[in-house]
């Protein structure tokens, strides 16, 4: 456990170094947030029937999405890990006494946390102070805020376990770019990153609710704004836990079988 924690710390400190890059990222996400909200506003202004999610809740959704991009983005890629696999340097990792799954998990988790810590606070701080209608509202009450935090963290763990599966698949394909891109595109769409899940047509929502992707973004965001009531949120957190167990289990098994099969060539 100690080894995992120190890998985690190392990555966190390392990630916090890139402040200028973070600043540029913040500016970009800010602009995006504005543009997206304006588009939704324009759509809402002409809506014939009241849409299934209010504009205010949607604005919360957008700002949380922009601020917590590092938590929810599926294809937050660590090229170092790909290189380890494709160059054969993975042999060194295999010599280490701690399990490779746990180490990588800690590494990926720390990278996301570092990036989110740097970026989310300034974005949210400004979003809370914006003039109406762009202002980010406070959570509807304390309990839903606490539920949101739990859901968000569980969602983060789920994203990391999902992306672990992606890295493991590289053992088989050896070429990360293409398959990763497709996985990322579909996963993010199904997580509600392109359009919020409540605005999707019913048949698509049915698909989205079966798959794991939405639990990382859509679910915590809607808990925050109160669009998902508290009782439902509690059940949701239970489902998140089950998914997490399943994903980590599958990941561990897949990793073990991939490692049994690999042949590291000398060099």
């Amino acid at each position: 456990m100690r080894a995992y924690i120190s890998v985690f710390k190392l990555r966190l400190v390392n990630g916090l170094q890139y402040r200028t890059a973070a600043l540029a990222g913040i500016a970009t996400q800010f602009f995006w947030g504005f543009i997206i909200i304006m588009v939704f506003e324009a759509f809402y202004s002409g809506a014939a029937a009241p849409p299934p999610i209010s504009l205010k809740q949607l604005i919360t959704y957008v700002w949380l999405q922009q601020a917590l991009l590092a938590f929810v983005m599926l294809w937050f890629r660590d090229n170092e890990l790909f290189q380890l696999i494709t160059t054969g340097n993975i042999a060194y990792e295999l010599c280490r006494p701690s399990g490779i799954y746990g180490l990588w998990y800690a590494k990926l988790l720390a990278q996301r946390l570092a990036s989110a810590l740097l970026r989310s606070m300034p974005i949210l701080a400004v979003a809370f102070c914006l003039p109406e209608p762009y202002r980010m509202p406070l959570p509807s009450d304390l309990i839903s805020f606490l539920l949101f935090i739990v859901a968000l963290l569980l969602g983060l763990l789920m994203v990391v376990s999902l992306s672990m599966l992606m890295y493991i698949s590289v053992f088989v394909t050896l070429s990360p770019a293409g398959s990763l891109l497709m996985f990322g595109v579909f996963g993010e769409f199904l997580a509600g990153m392109v359009i919020p899940v409540p605005l999707m047509p019913q048949w698509l929502q049915n698909i989205v609710y079966i798959l794991p992707f939405r639990w990382s973004a859509d679910f915590p965001f809607r808990v925050y704004s109160g669009h998902i009531p508290k009782e439902e949120a509690l059940i949701g957190i239970g489902i998140q836990l089950i998914w997490l167990l399943v994903l980590v289990g599958v990941g561990r098994i897949a990793m073990a079988s991939a490692l049994r099969k690999i042949v590291v060539q000398g060099g």
Binding site: F31, W32, A42, F43, P51, A177, G178, L181, L199, P201
Partner: protein
């Protein structure tokens, strides 16, 4: 121009060495804007229209800007990765050759997998044109062509500006993403759905509005009064490259090698 063709041919051959990877990448590049377009479709499916624009009209707008983006990403990619050229000191080599720096940097990199992106926008464009109840004339098609060209020039100009920044900062500036990716995202809708300041900024400072919104009004017969200014609007995008070139040339003269 001949040299530029030569550069393309060499880079094409080298990328074709990894064929499966290339195909997968191209498919992935196809899917990225496709998912955005699907999102657009679902939004219109629910709301029907956006400030008086219907789905087909916005689809036309979308395809033009995405096509321009794909083309400039394909051909002007050299400027995108320019910071590494400066940081390594490789730019020194470019300077001693008897060819223009712009041409050489343009030729340093091509991203052929963007063909996927391009294909996606062509499909949307053809579909949108076939769905719209607009009388197409030669003049309109010409304006359409110029809209795409104009967009390519704007994106290339922004890439160039961002690259020129490297002369002063060595590092590339991520902030340019606002105007490339952000500009693309914003310009996929007709500009008049946004707040006034956004529309103004993207018409008079970075002329995205001249690429799609103004000429789009002409294409869709929505203009009031004289058509001519609307038809000529795409020229503004082409003119946009001139200050960018000047900044670039100023930067090259300012350049001091990192010495590595």
């Amino acid at each position: 121009m001949w040299l530029y063709g030569k550069y393309i041919a060499i880079l094409f051959k080298s990328q074709m060495q990894y064929r499966t990877s290339f195909i997968l990448l191209a498919v992935g590049q196809f899917l990225i804007p496709f998912s955005v377009f699907a999102g657009l479709y679902f939004m219109f499916d629910r709301f029907g229209q956006i400030k008086g624009w219907d789905f087909q009209e916005v689809a036309l707008c979308f395809s033009i800007i995405h096509m321009a983006f794909a083309l400039s990403e394909c051909f002007a990619r050299g400027f995108d990765g320019f910071s590494s050229l400066v940081a390594n000191g490789d730019f020194d080599r470019v300077l001693v050759r008897p060819q223009s720096t712009v041409l050489q940097v343009l030729g340093s990199k091509f991203e052929f997998s963007r063909v996927g992106r391009l294909l996606q926008s062509i499909i949307v464009l053809v579909w949108a044109i076939s769905q719209l109840s607009v009388e197409w004339s030669i003049l309109k098609l010409l304006v359409l062509l110029f809209m795409i060209i104009s967009g390519v020039f704007i994106f290339t100009g922004i890439f160039m500006l961002a690259a020129a920044m490297c002369f002063w900062t060595i590092q590339g500036l991520e902030i340019a993403n606002i105007f490339t990716d952000g500009g693309k995202e914003m310009a996929q809708y007709p500009l008049d759905i946004y707040k006034k300041w956004v529309t103004r900024f993207f018409t008079f400072i970075i002329p995205f509005g001249c690429v799609n919104y103004l000429p789009l009004l002409y294409l869709l017969d929505k203009t009031s009064g004289n058509d001519l200014p609307y038809m000529l609007a795409p020229l503004a995008g082409i003119v946009f490259i001139i200050p960018c070139l000047l900044v670039w040339r100023f930067g090259v003269r300012h350049y001091r090698s990192t010495g590595s």
